[in-house]
């Protein structure tokens, strides 16, 4: 067993030839360090390296485009940190930090075309950013005033799904619909912009791969050739459970069992994530879907603000991953290979601080939604039952004295 990745579980001819448990566990992480199975275009040291399979898909990324990717990641990280602070100040009920996963999300998000559809889990703040959703629009969910305020059809970004892995079913169904409606595999003529071909991207984590919904999604997508990119951000931890409690094969290899390709990409390398996702989307749009992408990354903060990772993982693991920071390597590359000056980085920093200030201000000023809001979008065209409930609820609220005659301290939710 020289290469653990060549190991295919089968009945061994000679019992000794079975890999040891340690061998198998090592394989879950082995591609993290210079393994040919890991697609990488930017090393942690910021050096642009070549990958004959995927270089082509990042060929158009010049200095300006790379600067845009850098800017995306810095802004996303900045508002993520601000949201974390707002939770600690009692302004949000909970926050789900994306720290460390900026490259995995920005790379995938920027690979999409406007017509592609996205089904996120609940950590995809970076992907939301690339779909043009203002970060302030995410706040309602975490402040408990809204279930998500953006229009999923207009933004092509579904509402956050909290149930782990559940969105794989929705995404697969949606992608099957794209296929049934003939929006896959159309010949692109000279004057066409290619927008008649679509794909779906489904985001989930390493923990979700253990869910039945994900398995079902894989099965259906495979047998219906659905144009869906299953984009798994393997951030190594499902709350407190490590990947070795999810799988005995590297996650991207699971795709083979369903009959579609799986690729492992350095999830902290925004360029590689962009290239691999572009490839995967092209496969799907041309009718070769589905595809599994495992973005190998790391959750540098807690699972959520309610979690304390110091109780289950050692600090040195985090220190190790800090050396692979997704933003730092782009910064180094911009300086070394594109001679980008300090001014650019200062500008981005200033822009991110301004974004954070606007984000904070919006959070503090957020009005509670009108009481009838929760009845508004239950059905597309209304329903007598819901209408009656709305009327009853509004009448109930009307039975109170007006706001001015508050009997006690304000601000206390009932």
């Amino acid at each position: 067993m020289s290469d653990p990745h060549d190991w295919a579980p089968s009945v061994p001819a000679v019992p000794d030839k079975r890999p040891s448990r340690e061998h198998v566990l090592a394989a879950l992480k082995a591609t993290d360090e210079g393994d040919p199975n890991l697609v990488q275009l930017l090393t942690p040291e910021g050096e642009r390296v070549s990958d004959p399979r995927f270089d082509h898909f990042a060929g158009d990324v010049d200095s300006a485009a790379l600067q845009e990717l850098y800017r995306d990641m810095v802004l996303v990280r900045r508002f993520d940190r601000e949201a974390n602070a707002l939770q600690r100040q009692g302004q949000l009920g909970i926050w789900v930090p994306l720290l460390g996963q900026e490259a995995a999300q920005i790379g995938a998000g920027r690979a999409m075309q406007p017509q592609d559809m996205v089904f996120p889990s609940y950590r995809e703040h970076g992907v939301a950013w690339t779909r043009g959703i203002d970060p302030t629009e995410l706040l309602g969910i975490f402040r408990g005033t809204d279930h998500g305020g953006w229009d999923p059809l207009a933004t092509r970004f579904h509402l956050y799904t909290i149930v782990i892995g559940n969105q794989c079913l929705n995404a697969t169904g949606y992608a099957m619909g794209q296929r049934f409606e003939g929006r896959v595999g159309n010949a692109v003529g000279a004057g066409d912009d290619g927008s008649m071909n679509e794909a779906t991207v489904c985001f989930f984590g390493d923990g979700a791969t253990s869910q039945g919904d994900v398995h079902e999604g894989f099965v259906w997508a495979a047998v219906y050739d659905a144009p869906v990119v299953f984009y798994c951000q393997n951030n190594q931890w499902a709350i407190s459970e490590p990947t070795e409690r999810q799988s005995r094969v590297p996650l991207y290899k699971r795709a083979a069992g369903y009959g579609f390709p799986g690729v492992r990409v350095d999830g902290n390398d925004v360029l590689a994530c962009l290239a691999v996702t572009r490839w995967a989307l092209e496969e799907c749009r041309t009718g070769n879907g589905p595809v599994l992408v495992e973005a190998f990354t790391y959750r540098m903060d807690a699972h959520t603000t309610s979690d304390d990772p110091s109780r289950y993982r050692l600090a040195d693991e985090l220190e190790l991953w800090k050396l692979k920071d997704p933003i730092e390597r782009v910064r180094v590359n911009l300086v070394r290979e594109h001679a980008v000056g300090q001014e650019f980085f200062a500008d981005v920093q200033a822009e991110s601080d301004a974004l954070a200030a606007r984000f904070r201000e919006h959070c503090l000023q957020m009005p509670p939604p009108a009481p009838d809001r929760m009845f508004a979008n239950v059905y597309a065209e209304g329903s007598p039952t819901i209408d009656a409930q709305r009327a009853e609820y509004l009448a109930y609220l009307e039975s109170f004295e007006p706001e001015g005659s508050l009997a006690g301290a304000g601000g206390e939710g009932v």
């Binding site: 100040q89 603000t305 309610s306 600090a315 007598p384 009327a391 109930y396 109170f400």
Partner: protein, 453 residues
Amino acid sequence: MRREFAMPDVGEGLTEAEVVTWHVAPGDTVTVNQVIVEIETAKAAVELPCPYAGTVGELLVEPGRTVPVGAPIIAIETAEAAPAQAAPADEAGAKIGEAGKDGRIATLVGYGPRPGSVQRRARRSPSAPPAAPPPAVPNGRHVRPDLPDRGSPVAAESPAAGPVPLAKPPVRKLAKDLGIDLRSLTGSGAGGVITREDVEAAAATSAVEPAPPASPAAPTVGGVRREPIRGVRRATAAAMVSSAFTAPHVTEFLAVDVTETMALRDRLRGTREYAEVKLTPLAFVAKAVCLAARRTPEVNASWDEAAGEIVYYDRVQLGIAAATPRGLIVPKVRDADTLTLRELAAALGELTATARSGRTPPADLVGGTFTITNVGVFGVDTGTPILNPGEAAILAVGAIKPSPWVVDGELAVRTVCQLALSFDHRLVDGEQGSRFLADIGALLTDPGLALTW
């Protein structure tokens, strides 16, 4: 303008949190998102960033106090002017004023929004005409007028009248099991909620003297305080029990005349090299342990039951048991045997300061090979220390104090310290344990001996 920062719920449904350490003091300038305090909840230790920029006016909660979520913990003077019409803030302002007169901490602790302050908007009086007749809904149906008024104000105004007062389901179950009528109790919890303690107190009262019903909350029956076992306490308990029942402990004692060592310490303290470090007797003990362990490697080893092997360590990873506000933790000095006395002293100073402030990283708590516990700092002469699991020996250092001592057949006053060494008899025999302890004693009695080793 004075702004107060209320204890947030940092973990989905927590009701209280303990203030562990303040990182700022009154008068300090703070910026938005500057870390100002560390708190500990049932779920996690968390650093809180400041929501306002300004000057710290007052810390409203002392470290070590647990306060309910919503209680103000710090007041910050911000640059912005107070709003002209302070109408909605009036209520809160009055409370703060009262608190200031009454004394800072006493009144503000336990002051959250919940105790008695869950107030609802008044209902329109029943005599008034209904504000809006049930509005016609688009499909022509009407809201049924016979629907029960679920938020009946009667219930809110006189809680004792009919319905059972608020209590959580497990508490209701407990009351039922103990035969306590919840209606007879006054809740001491937030918003008048009946707590487990209320029910238990009532049960205790009714058991002892069945006559007086519903005496106003008697939480001090028997003067018992119950605290959940958690965090460091739980980890300590598990480690100690596992150690005590796995490793056969032997403890040996030795009283040592450390007069020479203390004299050496005083001389060294005056030198430039030691100007920057706090040279404690513990540093000498640590040095002596490292030197002695070189002659008795059995004490720097561990018993690997699973592998059926004894593991001897080349280096000494020296654990120092430290009492911290959160309980006992044992951070390690790495490769202590390679350090000079000065380096040891510096490392110990840093280690204990980090531990006391609760910032010891998890990585510093694992992988020890030998432990020193300095019970002397509590004025105690000696004890029988329990091994840190996985280690072969542990040394307790008692108080260093003047004692009668026989020198050359004469009684003299010398500086004396008691040492106690516990070792795992599975891998350390009496001979080795005794030699090790005697070596430490000899080095502390005559530090010059170190030259000869």
